[in-house]
Subunit: 677 residues, 2 copies
């Protein structure tokens, strides 16, 4: 019998021979096995739990006998007594190798564990946070060796963790001495190591072993809403999500009106910066309270946002983004501290990372979508559309990725629609029109029933039926086209032409009555000719952007479409295609990615390598500027029809027959050629 | 005739052959000659002025003919017309080499020019600032190539200055776009490159060529006073100096009473931090106003201070410095930004460097003295004494440097002395007592005359004679000893014993009347037995510290003594030796270094390499802790006599005979054994 033993780790398959008596954690480290430890092998953090397997392993060519690991020692016994150790588990730093053994590292013991995402198509997020806790035991000061406490911490990190150098934020210096003394010269240090720096930064410390976790905020800073996900940086778990309205709305609904506000009002830009920072500060405090977490444990923030929000967040006047050539102050990622953003409810040392922008109109939000959806990693040609007030559009495959932004306006979000409203209880989110009777049925948010099903009235009594949200208006327009209430050019027919009294004259045009609640004091919900025009403008802009990228790519069809954005998740692919929002593809190739920008923020928060990756991605993406591209105008005009006239729709025509009607006798005086920027 | 020419630069002596037509600046750069340029050779900054020499240069083996440089070109002519070019000067970027030539680089054209210091013994300060201006011409943005303005600045720096990467502070991002556009895509960038980082930081930028200079503040942050020197970082010139009282005095006169204040009052430490930061902010604004310089041009601050002030400046509770083992939060240098210190009158991006501390009682001020006086660079053994409320003492030569701090208390500064006062007009600063008549004559600050000279009364009528300052009390005590009014133990004799009515009974002891202004409503100025005891305590502490270092060094004499500190400059070496403040050395080996700590701050401000040097120095200095060293107590007790009893004074005895008197008949009930910490 030789004195060393074969150790095989699963699931990595890494193997090596070690002297009997070697702790499992030591063996794992020497083999580069991903086994966590915060306390550095002192048997107090319990992060290095492993499960030995016994029996025959023909695949590995090894038989593991009882006694392949040392017996439980006092540390493990105490740990089990006090905290409880799952059956079969051992502490990797205490159990030593006594014979050939197969050792499983469960996911929760891996530093680089994977966090599964909801969308089935999406790769899991691999944990590799920039900020990690390290437990150290520090020498006490000695009058004969007058080093500072920080210098002894550095010495401990070098000796106990092989970290040769750190920098310390001055805000941390203030807590250094009381924390060290409170912890009896044992402390847990939070070190932040950015992807683009060699030396980690000491951003927080706690007495003794800190078990309260370390957290980060992934923030999707939109023009209209701000969404934040409070994430445990050790497990990747989202412990709370919260959203608020962007208070800048009072300075202008859309981005360009905010840029105008900055242009017209001295100090207006700073005013908007202050407003958004105050809101972020309040949001951070609120989400921590909600998750019952000390805000002092929030040590990282990652932001994704469009270029205007990016500049306003960073205190940069966005005026240049309102005029050609739409120059960003900086397109690279920006790293700073919570102190520099004036986020008083968070530690001054909390590290902030803002994803890079792609171009003056294609922001860090689009970069985040690219990071989340990875069109550049698929052979098939993907069109990724993030629908919002501005649509970010990505088109690409492994050969190339293109990006542009298209000014769709707020119609898709229910704004500038006569009966439009935000997605909230009471809003019509889905609608079907019987092609025979031309009668509508619909569903409202907050109720699973259709309006023609029994119990609908009772179920919606509390909320009422208040308007139509973004996904509802898309379905309404598409269903009106399917039912023959709307012709290819977007004109609503008269009662005579359509054969339904629901098509009522309104001035020189017509409107379709979806629901009349006026008897109960509720609103009359109609789809007007103006609403159709607004949706036509929006979908033309969206489609023209996609089409421009397809031209640039030299293709006239795509393999798959990903609808992203909070709103994207609720769009019916069939109706989007009837409308001509997206090119013709097999319906099963249209997927929803949910809030892909927000997911990109979470990925960059949980995996520091993803920051380098998104910076690389952004450099590789070809930006197409819609504002100066004459073909954009051409595509925009050609896309006005429903569906647009420029492409055949073989996939769509297998699913639904669109009636060939024309209502051009009535005057369409509004025209459909306006452009919105 | 070959096509290339010999170019010799003076004073460096660097030489090389260059193709005819090569600009002088290009030749200088290729040879590594220290020739300044901010505009990178565009003929607009005029920093690269040189003087060609003509005629025979046997030493260099070359004859320079007329026409060795190209004729004046249009750029030089315009520059001369608009700004004026000194006779004989050329612009190095415009003049090209046409034949063998000797070219002198005048001091003001050298980046690393030397700044001469006042003290004859001191090496000049070599300019090598961390913050330097760079002029660049930046590409305009282009919609087809959507890079940010910052990214194009980076590209310009790489192409025009060979600087591959920079980081930009978020505060700079806000001014980037308007500045670039105002300057027509020409800008001067201030880059800060610390000694311990590879990548410089963009800390300010101006439109076009910035000619307003770049400035820094060297700040000596004392317990009692704060002194600042506003320094031009290109020339090294001190453009304004200003001092204010440290407002922390209201929390405690000396350091230990401030530590007590922090201990006794919750939030007391932060209160003191706020007070000193507010004072610094006001001082910075005031000194800029005085020098008529925009505070936005102050881009660097260097601080020297004792450990307690160091902690209070950085917002660290100094409580640990009040109790053994006197652990510093950090002993290393600290780098931060003006934003982190809350200095609102300076740019948020201004970079702050705080020199390292040597030990819990030996601060960054002592480190600065070591940097300024360089005891470790001399063969002779130097004793450097920085006299203040705490005395910092350095002893060393090329083999070794030792340091300690000794709690002398405020007596040397005129505090705790019955007629003591700060050095201000009206204070007695020098005194002589006739050994025969025992009559005093004295000089007061603000008047060159001695009190027995004609016109003295008139000359001092405005200020009056108000008290005795630090240097005055030292001379008074020493002169009383020389005149036989004081015995070796420090007792003042009675009128009978001394033969002068000026020795008057005061309780059970005696006092010597220096001046009686009571007839004119002024004070009676006396030196009391209590004053003598206070001075004895102070000088014993000082001497005991020096002696402790000498023990550690294994020597019983030193070769030279340097008196540093604002007060050190005014101490008479003879009287200091009579008193026994310093060991016996030849009088011509006692020099004054003025405010050596402040000078050290200036050196670190002007020369970034000096920061690495002082950090190295501090690591090499052996710290001796007086508080735990039993021999300190022994030396302290033995040093009570005037002069102290422990050493022979051969040098002193050649200069002055000290009378062998004893007044021990009267009771000295006060004792001389008290210790002050």
């Amino acid at each position: 019998m030789t004195n060393d033993a074969l150790v095989i780790f699963t699931p990595s398959g890494k193997r090596g021979r070690f002297a009997r008596g070697t702790p499992v954690l030591t063996a794992a480290r020497q083999l580069g096995v991903d086994l966590d430890s915060v306390c550095g092998g002192r048997g107090i953090c319990s992060k290095c739990q492993i499960t030995p397997s016994y029996g025959e392993f023909p695949k590995h060519g090894v038989t593991v006998a009882e006694g392949a690991l040392s017996d439980w020692n006092a540390v493990e016994e105490r740990y089990d007594r006090v905290r409880g150790l799952k059956s079969g588990r051992r502490l990797g730093c205490q159990a030593t190798v006594q014979g050939d053994v197969v050792i499983d590292v469960p996911p929760e013991s891996q530093v680089h564990r994977q966090v599964v995402r909801k969308a089935a198509s999406a790769r899991p997020i691999q944990m590799d946070p920039a900020t990690r806790p390290f437990y150290v035991e520090v020498e006490e000061p000695d009058m004969h060796e007058p080093t500072g406490d920080l210098e002894r911490i550095k010495r401990a990190l070098a000796a106990q963790w092989d970290i040769p150098a750190i920098k310390a934020d001055v805000a941390v210096l203030a807590s250094l001495q009381p924390v060290l003394r409170k912890g009896g010269w044992k402390t847990t240090l939070a070190l932040h190591k950015p992807h683009d720096a060699e030396v980690p930064r000491l951003v927080a410390l706690w007495p003794g072993l800190h078990e309260g976790g370390v957290f980060g905020l992934a923030i999707d800073l939109g023009s209209t809403t701000i969404a934040a996900h409070l994430t445990n940086l050790e497990t990747g778990q989202v412990v709370a999500s919260s959203g608020i309205m962007n208070p800048q709305i009072r300075f202008g609904e859309d981005l360009m009106s905010r840029v105008s506000y900055a242009m017209m009002n001295p100090g207006g830009s700073l005013e908007m910066t202050r407003a958004v920072r105050e809101a972020l500060d309040a949001l951070a405090a609120e989400i921590a309270r909600e998750a019952q977490i000390d805000p002092a444990l929030i040590l990282e923030l990652v932001f994704v946002c469009n270029p205007v929000m990016h500049h306003l967040l960073l205190g940069i006047d966005p005026v240049e983004l309102g005029q050609a050539p739409f120059a960003l102050a900086t397109s690279d990622s920006v790293s700073l501290s919570a102190r520099e953003l004036g986020l008083a409810s968070l530690p001054a040392t909390a590290q902030v990372y803002v994803l890079p922008c792609i171009a003056g109109h294609v922001g860090a939000d689009a970069a985040a979508v690219a990071l989340s959806e990875e069109p550049g990693k698929r052979e098939e040609l993907s069109l990724v559309v993030d629908v919002g007030t501005n649509a970010e559009i990505l088109l690409g495959n492994t050969t190339r990725v293109l990006a542009c932004s298209s000014p769709t306006g707020p119609a898709f979000e229910g704004a500038q629609i006569s009966s439009g409203q935000r997605a909230a209880p009471g809003a019509i989110e889905a609608i079907r029109i019987d092609p025979e009777t031309k009668e509508p049925r619909f569903r409202v948010i907050g109720c699973e029933l259709w309006s023609n099903e029994p119990g609908f009235a009772e179920a919606t009594a509390a909320t009422g039926i208040t308007g139509i949200c973004g996904s509802g208006i898309i379905e309404a327009v598409a269903e009106m086209r399917i039912a023959g209430l709307l012709d290819r050019s977007g004109l609503i027919g008269s009662a005579e032409q359509t054969g339904t009294e629901r098509c009522q004259a309104e001035g020189r045009t017509h409107a379709y009555l979806v629901h009349d609640g006026s008897a109960e004091g509720g609103p009359r919900i109609t789809v007007t000719q103006g609403d159709i025009r607004a949706i036509q403008l929006a979908k033309s802009a969206l489609y023209a952007g996609a089409r421009l990228l397809m031209d640039e790519m030299g293709v006239d069809k795509v393999d798959r479409v990903v609808l992203a954005g909070a709103f994207g998740a609720h769009i019916s692919p069939l109706h989007a295609m009837v409308l001509g929002m997206i090119p013709d593809v097999p319906l099963d190739q249209v997927t929803s990615a949910g809030n892909a920008a927000g997911t990109g923020a979470r990925i960059a928060l949980c995996n520091v390598g993803a920051r380098a990756e998104v910076e690389r991605l952004v450099r590789q993406i070809t930006k197409v500027e819609t504002a100066i591209e004459p073909r954009f105008q051409e595509h925009f005009v050609a896309a006005n029809a429903i569906p647009h006239a420029s492409d055949p729709f073989p996939e769509l025509s297998q699913l639904v027959q669109l009636p060939d009607v024309s209502f051009n006798a009535g005057g369409d005086r509004q025209g459909g050629r306006r452009r919105r920027r």
